[in-house]
Structure formats: C-alpha cells, structure tokens
Amino acid sequence: METPAYTVSELMACVFSRDMQDGERGGIPGVRSEVPLASAGLAVRHHAPNATIFSPSGPVAAEQLVMTGTTTDYERTTGVASMIALDEIFDLIHRGTFDWWFAGGMQIDQYGNINLVGIGDWKRPKLRGPGTAGIASENFVGRILVWINEHSPRMFVKKVDFVSCAGHGPHDRKALGLRGGGPYLVVSPLAVLDFEKKSGRMRLRSVHPGVTVKQVQENTDFELIIPENVPTTPPPSDEEITILRKQVDPLGILREEELYG
C-alpha cells in the first residue's frame, strides 16, 4: 500500500492524536491551536469518541473540532453546550481537571522548560515573543503535549532565556508546588521526544520518516538521551489522513506552510 503524502503538521497531529486515550479530558489552547485542534478532532473521530475536549469557551462536540480561520472564531466558541468565561477555564485547569493540554514554545531546553516570552535579556530582549499565554498553568494537568514548529539549535537550547512553563529540572518540581505531570511529549518537524523519568532529561523516542538520529542530535543544542534502537515515527495512515482532510481540516490549514518568527 502506498503511503499518502502528508505535511509535517499533519504528521504532528497524528502523533498527538495517538497519545490521546478514549475517556480522557483534554484542552485546546486559546491561541495558535492549529495542530492541537487537528489532533483532538482526529482522536475523537478515530479512537477516542468519549474524550471530553474543552475549547477556551467550554466543552465542545466533534462538530466544533473542525479547523476554521482562528481559534476563537464565532462558530467554534459558541458551539459549546455550556459556555464558560476565561477565568473559569483557568480554575478548572488549576484544580487538576485535565489529563492533557497543549503548549507551544519558541525555546525548549533539555529538561523541557519552555519559553514563549523572548530571546535574550528579559528587559531588553533581542526578540520579543508572543508571551506565555496559559502554558504556566499547564503544570497542573496530567500531560503537557508540546509542539515545536522548528527543530534547530536555536529552539532546542541548553537553557531557556525565560521559563514560561517549568519542566523536569534542574529544580525539584514538588518543591515548586507543581502538581501536574509536566512536559510529556515533544513533537518537532524532525522527531518525537519524551523525558527520562530518573534524570528528567529529554530523550529521543522516534525519528520521522526520512530523518536520521544524527540529524536530530545536530539540530539540538544539548545532548539528547538516545536509546540503542530508535524507531521511525509511523506515518499517517490512510484512515488518519482521510479523517484529517475530509472532516477536521477541510480548508487545508495544516497543508499551508508553517510560519514562525
């Protein structure tokens, strides 16, 4: 059988979708939700029909898990069965309601600390980023699913310039009061990564089709934990790609070139 052609964003959506279990509670961020929304939209149609998915405005049905121009378009925010305000969604996050939520980043380090604030000195940054959004709050959900749009040494850094969302070290998460599981899965255009439990350091889990282990390490500014056998990320199946394109992303937003910076 021929493997369907797909974009990196579509592959990323499939990887996250496969991590979502039926019956779990998860959330779509309020900003830059393209890959998160596509993964959740795919998961509920593919294998997790009983997942409870929250948008920023409340719990949504599958019909709202369809990509439109932006995250908070009218048809997406008003499609909820019970509408909640912005303060209430954060109450729910902090009290530990969610199994997973998504985080984006402009820098991530070997412990999974994530920066969305800026590059360089905080007071006079070389590059001001968009800001933390809500990713600090995500340290109170079970698993943080991290998508990074560029795999390069400037994104995968030894130490982030600002901690928006704390990872697994060098601090003690418990002492900081973080009750959630922290960054769990990192998906980049090159690979899938996770964190070794003991050291809290980033580990290579799989490389995307056509990518080598060497290439991933060369594009990472710190030393990755690399297991002896690194599998290839399974590409999107015919079924996944059909659901994505026909039902989740009919406008083809995931097939546009990703823009960042």
Binding site: V31, Y74, L86
Partner: protein, 296 residues
Amino acid sequence: MAGTNKVMSLKEAISVIPDGATVALGGFLLQNKPMAATREMARQRKRGLFVICAAPSSLDIDLLAGAGCVARAVVQSISAERFGPTMPNFRKGVQDGTIEIVECDQGMVVAGLTAAKKGVPFIPTMAGLGGDFPKVNPDWFKIMQDPFFGEPTLAVRAMKPDFTLIHTLLADSEGNAQHIGWPANDRLACLAADRVIVTTEEVVPRQVVAAQPTRTVTFAYNVAAVAAVPYGAYPTACQGRYRYDEEAIRDYIAAGRGLAFERYLEKHVYGAPTQAKYMESIGIGRFLKVQTGREC
C-alpha cells in the same frame, strides 16, 4: 424606571481617560477588540498608559504602542495568531525598552483582576508557579506559602483598571452591554474596573437587553459612557455581526513591520477623525464583505 442616559460620542467617551491611566482592554485576540476606542485614544494622544490586556490581545495594544500611548503593560499573549506570531509595534516597544512589561500567564491576569474585583490586595493562585515571573516582576508576584498546609502558591497583586474598554454587539443607553458570542474575560474586566467605557454596534431599548439578561457582561452602575460605533471592532471580529478582515490584519502588520506605520496612522487614525472617515479610508466594500462574506 429609566436609568441615566450615558450615550455620547466616542470622542467624549474617551476624553475622560487621563494620561497615565490604567486601562484594561476586553475582547480576545481577534474577537470583539475595542479597536475604534484605541484609535480614538491614539487621536487624543494619550500618553503614559498602563494597559492591562484582560485576555490575549492583538491590534488593539499594538496600535496604542505604535501611537506612543503605552508606558507599561500587563501581557500574556500578543499576536495575530496565524496572521502574525508577534505584533510589530508592541514588539519594537519592548525590544527598545520604551514599554515596560508585567509578565503574565493568563491565569495570573485572571488572579490580578479577580483580586481587584474582590477588593483584596492580592490573590494566591497556582498560575505561574515554576516560571520566572516573580524573578522579573517582584513588585507584582511573590511565592507565598499557604498559611494552612505550607504549600507554595503564587501571590498576585490586585490589577485594578481605572477604565475597562469593551466592544459589544448591543447595549442600552444606561450601559447594560451584551455579546451574543463568547464573552471571554469581559465580565471580570468590567467588575474589576472603577469605570467602564462601552463601545457598541448598536444602542437598543432596555427591553431588548432585559429579554436576555444572561448575555449582559457589564453592570451599569460603573459604566461611564456608551458610544455607538458600528464596526467598532473592525478589523477584528464582532461576534455574531461580522468576521475579522484577514487582509486588513495582514496589511496592518506589514505597515508596522516597515517604516510605513506613521503613514498608516496618518491615513487611518489621525487623518480620519470619525468612524465614518475611518471607514472611508479603508473602503466601504470591506465592511460589507466581513459582514456578508461576499463582495457587495
């Protein structure tokens, strides 16, 4: 019983904001942003404002930044999403050091506004724990042990707006203002503020508002002004009335990135002293298109 009629022109409504005021912006990213109000603040050359973005913000704070109105800002996420991952004038202001930042997670903004709403000096929250926020803004955030069990929490100082600016679909003349879409953080931003300035697509009789009171996001007692400004959220969307104008948003960002922003301000803000003039400067067809989804 008839309430106080607070309907006035946009110019009058904005004229009560003094230089140096703390001003919260309602809406969410590209929805229901008080754009006409921010253009009027630019026209009136407000200076030294402390802007609180009640929710993720975009062209609203960026236009104020580009017009030199902003001294300080509470921010969590400033972008135009797919259309622009950062906003040009705000970004320039922070990089040049002309805009001072109170760095937040959205949950911290919620905490700061909630403290103001409750009249308490601070609120403990889980938002921001583990992050660098207290390091860079120790005047606003402190790690605090909870006095009962000793667990760490983040104390967030009250963020009290002198004025909150929102744009809604409807309002009555007393200031009961309604969305039919998602209110985002508007209700909290209005409850936290001393005074609220409402711009609205349409001023309607009180009975229209009273027919659906659950949609009201303001409380008329602290509404200082109601200004009817059709297309007052353009080029962002007014939920239930018109969509955002992607092309206008991209044009705005392109103007901000280059040296053209002064020209943009001259054409669409300083040189367009009323909403009618602003709409003419953009072209009426664009407004019809965001409302109907087609060329009219």
